[in-house]
Amino acid sequence: MQIDFAAKELTVKLVYYGPALSGKTSNLRAIHWLGTSNACGELMTLETQNDRTLFFDMLPITVNSGSGLKVRLKLFTVPGQVMHNATRRLVLRGTDGVAFIADSQRSEADANREAFLNLKQNLEENGIDPEGIPIVIQFNKRDMDHIRTDEELEVIAQRSREPIYKAVATRGYGVMQTLRGLIREAWGKLEEDHQLEEKFGISPVRFMNEVESKLKHDPGQRER
């Protein structure tokens, strides 16, 4: 988090993490076309020829809290490929929350676990306590065959510390719920650490209402 007292501006950094091809960029794209255009900035992606995200995507969302404080939510994704670990670690620096995008396909369970361990390690190397940082987990690609069933995810969700979301990011399903969940978790933690309500007079509830109204998507593109 970065506070600019003079400009009354708060920048919150949220990172979408996960194994290669799990749908991190699809999440950001969906947020971009589902979110209202005046809240979202331009989606910036850096892609290599074979369509893998090389560096990161960035989607700044601006929320005016009503008390004069401007909150800029910056969403990043990292390159999932193993070879880009240094870039992943750099992007993770100073993050306020992580959305871990897992692939629901059974065949990808190992890749999910590996990416999560990598996340943990990179957080630690950046001096961030993995136990303390808000993390939400999204099981993406719910429309594919051979995936973990809803019942299985139900069981997983019950014993999981992190909130679990289901999504089909390419169609926008579950993307906004995940983002709202992540923002709620991150804001809760920031409130705990920095007493934002006391300093700026914004309660978490009011902030989330503001986020909800900003991120309200077009009725024509409803999520299911």
Binding site: E42, M44, T62, K74, T87, L90
Partner: protein, 467 residues
């Protein structure tokens, strides 16, 4: 520290200054084409007040006004106000006292102001006559002349000016976006490379440390080996000596059973002594302080010595020995004792690993030793090959597989630990042979076919003709 700072800044993905992402040349050329198309002057200024582009042509009206003292002062004041006008991110139309206007359009990026551009001065098409302030600014201004110049000012309808400005804003926004993208990509790239380098450097450092530790341990092992073998040999010599004395009846007559037991004790003690001697040799060889007494050694004598030593073992295993010496074989330049050791180790192995009824062939023949080494690398730079003696030891044993072949010269290496018990030996022989051959500046090669047998070829430098 500076680098870390910029990396951290870039990681939040913010544009710090307009001039960092907008190349001046590109902005200027965009403004020039804007000017060529619409005839409107344009300036681009960063949030910090830096002028990034300024494309305009002096207007006769402005030149004329500037000839008067008050006109010049008033003009400078207007330009100053316009330059610094930045009103909460809203587009502003600022009127000049001449009747012309300036349109100030803010540029922002990701919710932050980063600069603005100013279009003008131009006269709104809606303004037909100049305001009185044009000629009243200074007594020296002639109303008629001023009106004449006013008529020649560029004219645009305000709604058109708004559209044109929106278009220019779009172009500049795009330039900022692409510039930012490029800046992020390159900064990220460099930061990643640096991060990778740091990681590798740390890994290398760790590897080097553990390598140094291993080297130290290896040194320790060699010293330990040498000390222990030396300490083991002294009491063993006593054991063997007293056993021999007992056997010879010095301490009284022996029964058949006692003699047999003593014989076993002595043969096992001899075996132990052999092993300890090998260990000592290896220790010396590894420490590279083995002295070789060079002389011309006749391979015929070497091979006949070998036969007498190896025959009993061969007979026990029913292995036939075939010794072949080519008549042309020259003498070897080497240490007689060590050369015997080489041959004995190889032949002993060959017998040991041959099956019952197998055959071992030991051959000596003339050959050549390439001065540049077996690979022939840089052969042009070395003297021509020199005469050599090739000693071949061939068995009809079980053979060695390709993957194990490269390890046979490692100390304590045995292809199958089970064979140690079955056939004896500690896995030191070939390691010693290799070191001895190296010590003689010779070469040793091994080829093998599983199930058919193994061939060791030792090439050693020949002694000079007259030696």
């Amino acid at each position: 520290m500076q680098d870390d700072m910029s990396a951290a800044d870039i990681l939040l993905g913010d544009v710090l200054r307009l001039e960092d992402v907008l190349p001046r040349d590109s902005v200027t050329s965009v403004c020039k084409s804007f000017f060529a198309l619409f005839g409107l002057p344009v300036r681009v200024i960063s949030h910090e007040g830096e002028l990034l582009a300024d494309v305009h042509r002096d207007r006769p009206l402005c030149n004329y006004i500037n000839t008067s003292i008050n006109g010049e002062r008033e003009c400078a004041r207007t330009v100053g106000v316009v330059r610094d006008l930045d009103r909460n991110g809203q587009t502003n139309v600022y009127p000049c006292f001449t009747g012309a206007v300036y349109r100030i359009v803010p540029l922002d990026y990701q919710g932050r102001p980063i600069g603005r551009f100013i279009v003008g001065p131009y006269v709104p098409a809606e303004t037909k006559v100049p305001p009185p302030s044009l000629s009243s600014v200074d007594a020296a201004i002639d109303d008629g002349t001023a009106r004449g110049h006013f008529a020649k000012m560029p004219r645009v309808r305000e709604d058109v000016a708004q559209e044109i400005s929106a278009h220019l804003k779009g172009v500049l926004d795009l330039l900022v976006f692409s510039g930012h993208r490029a800046l992020l990509a390159s900064t990220m790239q460099i930061a990643s490379v640096r991060e990778n380098y740091r990681e590798l450097a740390e890994a290398n450092e760790a590897l080097k440390t553990s390598y140094d530790e291993l080297k130290q341990l290896d040194q320790l092992k060699s010293t330990f080996l040498a000390t222990v073998s030396h300490e083991l040999r002294s009491p063993l010599t006593s054991i063997i000596g007293y056993t021999e004395m007992l056997e010879s009846g010095t301490a009284g007559a022996l029964s058949d059973g006692q003699a047999e037991f003593l014989g076993t004790i002595r043969s096992k003690a001899d075996q132990l002594l052999g092993l300890i001697s090998s260990l000592l040799d290896l220790g010396r060889l590894e420490a590279k302080n083995l002295d070789l007494n060079y002389e011309a050694v006749d391979p015929r004598a070497l091979l006949s010595d070998l036969v007498s030593t190896i025959v009993p073992a061969a007979n026990r295993r029913n292995v036939s020995l075939d010794i072949q010496v080519d008549d042309e074989t020259p003498k070897i330049w080497g240490d007689q004792v060590r050369l015997s050791q080489i041959l004995l180790n190889l032949a002993d192995n060959a017998v040991k690993f041959s099956d019952e009824g197998g055959e071992v062939v030991v051959r000596a023949e003339p050959g050549k030793l390439d001065a540049a080494g077996s690979s022939g690398l840089g052969v042009a730079l070395f003297a021509a090959s020199r005469p050599a003696v090739v000693l071949t030891v061939e068995d009809s044993g079980m053979g060695i597989s390709g993957e194990n072949l490269s390890k046979v010269f490692d100390a304590f290496y045995q292809i199958d630990a089970g064979t140690t018990r079955l056939r004896g030996g500690a896995g030191l022989g070939l390691s010693i042979v290799k070191q001895l051959v190296d010590g003689h500046e010779g070469e040793i090669q091994v080829t093998s076919t599983l199930g058919e047998g193994t061939i060791f070829i030792v090439t050693l430098p020949a002694a000079d003709e007259d030696a």
